[in-house]
């Protein structure tokens, strides 16, 4: 039942994207099944950190979407780097409360998440990774959702 709910909602989103296109700088790469989507995003202003770059995003949807957030990471490919940002680890994991259980709202959707990420990059001027990036990436093989939990725990 719930899984059907997620599937239908994603179907609606896909339909809307196909009918009216995504905002500039966001492109749907693949949505072959309703569990995993790939999108490309670009930063459209002249922030020198991200100029002329395209970044690949991977969305994974659970059966509880949109009640619970999707899992969103940047993916590294030969022509798709991981953007430099103090909230983005070099393995593509994104630290954004919008994507956490607390910050998420079921009225968000793929498009609005992409736009939030765009503006998160736009507003950044620091050419750096989160503190402890090396250790974190080396030590951590967990999935993003689990990491966040571990993460909160560690900082208290």
């Amino acid at each position: 039942m719930s899984a059907q709910f997620a599937t239908k909602r994603l179907g609606k989103e896909l339909q809307k994207i196909r009918n009216s296109r995504l905002p500039p700088g966001i492109e749907l790469v693949s949505a072959e099944n309703l569990e995993e989507w790939l999108l490309d995003i670009q930063v459209l202003d002249d922030n020198p950190l991200y100029q002329n770059q395209t970044y690949r995003l991977k969305f994974r949807f659970g059966s509880t979407y949109p009640i619970e957030p999707p899992e969103v990471v940047f993916v590294k490919l030969s022509d798709r780097p991981i953007p430099m940002h103090p909230h983005i680890y070099s393995n593509g994991i994104i630290c954004l409360d919008l994507l956490g259980q607390q910050g998420w709202s079921p009225v968000q959707n793929v498009e609005s998440v992409c736009m939030s990420l765009q503006s998160m990059l736009t507003g950044n001027s620091k050419n750096e990774r989160p503190p402890g990036d090396d250790d974190f990436v080396r030590a951590n093989q967990l999935r993003p959702k689990d990491i966040e939990f571990y993460y909160h725990d560690n900082t208290v």
């Binding site: 609606k12 905002p23 009640i67 619970e68 709202s105 079921p106 009225v107």
Partner: protein, 470 residues
């Protein structure tokens, strides 16, 4: 609430009255509704899945639930003024006890408000397609449940075999068919399948004794040839589906189909006629009820006069006879049934009382119908204002969302600032979007930002849950 076309306890036509000595009590349900109710109870159809419904034509964005993105189904409004399907908001509240749009705290159920009837009416009047496989019925959404639950031949009901727990389409659910889930061997190609699948197998996939259509060279199972020619064959003669509206087009089916798709000139008229005949039916129904009621009323008054007269003379036996005479003379056929029943009543008073009660319920029914029609009328008048109002509300909610996003962005900026200045980066930075916005300066700034963004914001994204673009 039952769908509007539920058979109700209506005017009992005298011919359908049971011949038993006891008249049906005014409150006892009409026979047909008893049957409908019973068949509904034991066929136990699956609940209609509102998310699976396909809507015809454009649905206004304001009628879409922000959580499931389909037109609202039994919607409620939160104290903060946002509307969701009851199911959707309940699900969302299990995760977080606050409004998904503006994070205002919500107390499940207790804080819900009902939606203005005018919006409900708009939802009721959306055009939909029946979600059942194989059915191409189209109707207003308010009528869909009735169609799905009681009339659609493709709704899945229990298998007629009581030992079987599977479901079958209603049209196949005949006791003489037996269980539709036993295996059967196709008599044309020897393939084995379930009985329920046979029909679809004949239409596609059967490789046995085939015939070739003389018109289009398609191969079909032999005994489906007639059906193919009259319903599907692209080369056979067919008529435009708006022929009742005056379209004279009658050519090969594929040309006619094209003609229909390109927009038959008579389509608008045809649709209008359809609507009119629907309205006509309702009006006829109402007029019928009204005349019956008026007739009864007149009869009752005459009878009362008679009784008052006879009450003066204490000749008891003639009373009921007079009534019978009267009923027959006034409209012989209509009243013949109750004339014989009349004797079963303990006294004329009882009978009168029963009649009176029944009439009252019928009056109530009529009044309800009238009010419904009235509501439709005023809806038409008010629709324009409603739309404007909704657009205003939509704008307001967009501004709210924008506000939320700017506050969030401002806060992030401020945090970055603070971090930069203090130079100490303690702990990972994942607590963005703090809810505090009571900083006067930040608020003023964010309001400015909202104004700025509204200027250059993309204009077509409807509900406005999208964050501002910078």
């Amino acid at each position: 609430m039952p769908p509007p076309n539920t058979p109700e306890e209506g005017v009992t036509a005298p011919g359908t009255r049971p011949a038993s000595p006891t008249l049906p009590r005014p409150s006892s349900p009409h026979l047909s509704s008893v049957i409908a109710y019973a068949s509904r109870a034991d066929s136990a159809v699956l609940e209609l899945d509102y998310q699976a419904i396909e809507y015809i034509g454009h649905v206004d964005e304001t009628l879409l639930c922000p959580v499931c993105r389909t037109p609202f189904h039994s919607p409620i409004t939160t104290p903060c003024g946002h509307t969701f399907c009851a199911g959707c908001i309940n699900r969302a509240l299990e995760m977080q006890p606050s409004c998904p749009i503006d994070r205002q705290p919500i107390n499940k159920t207790r804080d819900y408000h009902r939606l203005p009837l005018i919006v409900k009416d708009q939802l009721d009047r959306l055009k939909v397609k029946c979600p059942n496989n194989g059915c191409d019925h189209e109707c207003l959404r308010e009528h869909l449940e009735g169609h799905y639950e009681r009339r659609c031949q493709f709704t899945l009901v229990r298998c007629p075999d009581t030992n079987c727990t599977k479901r079958v389409a209603r049209r196949d659910s005949l006791p003489e068919n037996g269980c539709m889930h036993r295996d059967i061997c196709c008599q044309y190609c020897n393939e084995v399948m379930m009985v329920a699948e046979l029909d679809a197998h004949y239409d596609h996939g059967c490789t046995g004794a085939v015939a070739v259509c003389s018109e289009c060279d398609a191969t079909v199972v032999r005994h489906r040839l007639e059906k193919h020619k009259s319903n599907d064959c692209p080369e056979a003669e067919a008529r435009c589906k708006w022929q009742s509206a005056g379209c004279r087009v009658a050519k090969k089916r594929r040309i006619v189909r094209e003609h229909e798709r390109d927009g038959c000139l008579f389509e608008a008229i045809g649709r209008l006629l359809d609507e009119r005949s629907e309205d006509r039916k309702i009006i006829d129904d109402l007029t019928g009820r009204l005349t019956t009621l008026e007739m009864r009323n007149r009869r009752r008054e005459v009878r009362r006069e008679r009784r008052n007269e006879t009450a003066a003379r204490p000749t008891n036996g003639s009373v009921s006879l007079d009534i019978v005479d009267l009923g027959l003379s006034e409209d012989g056929t209509l009243f013949a049934g109750s004339a014989t029943d009349n004797g079963a009543w303990a006294s004329p008073e009882d009978y009168m009382l029963a009649q009176f009660e029944r009439m009252e319920t019928q009056m109530d029914d009529l009044r309800k119908k009238m009010m419904e029609m009235d509501a439709h009328q005023s809806l038409n008048l008010l629709q324009h204002t409603a739309r404007a109002n909704e657009q205003l509300a939509e704008l307001a909610s967009k501004v709210g969302v924008l506000n939320m996003h700017t506050t969030w962005l401002m806060n992030m900026q401020r945090q970055n600032y603070a971090q930069q200045r203090s130079g100490s980066v303690a702990g990972p930075p994942n607590n963005g979007m703090p809810a505090t916005s009571d900083d006067g300066a930040a608020r003023a700034a964010s309001e400015n930002a909202v104004r700025r963004q509204e200027g250059n914001r993309r204009n077509s994204d409807g509900r406005g849950e999208n964050p501002p673009r910078l």
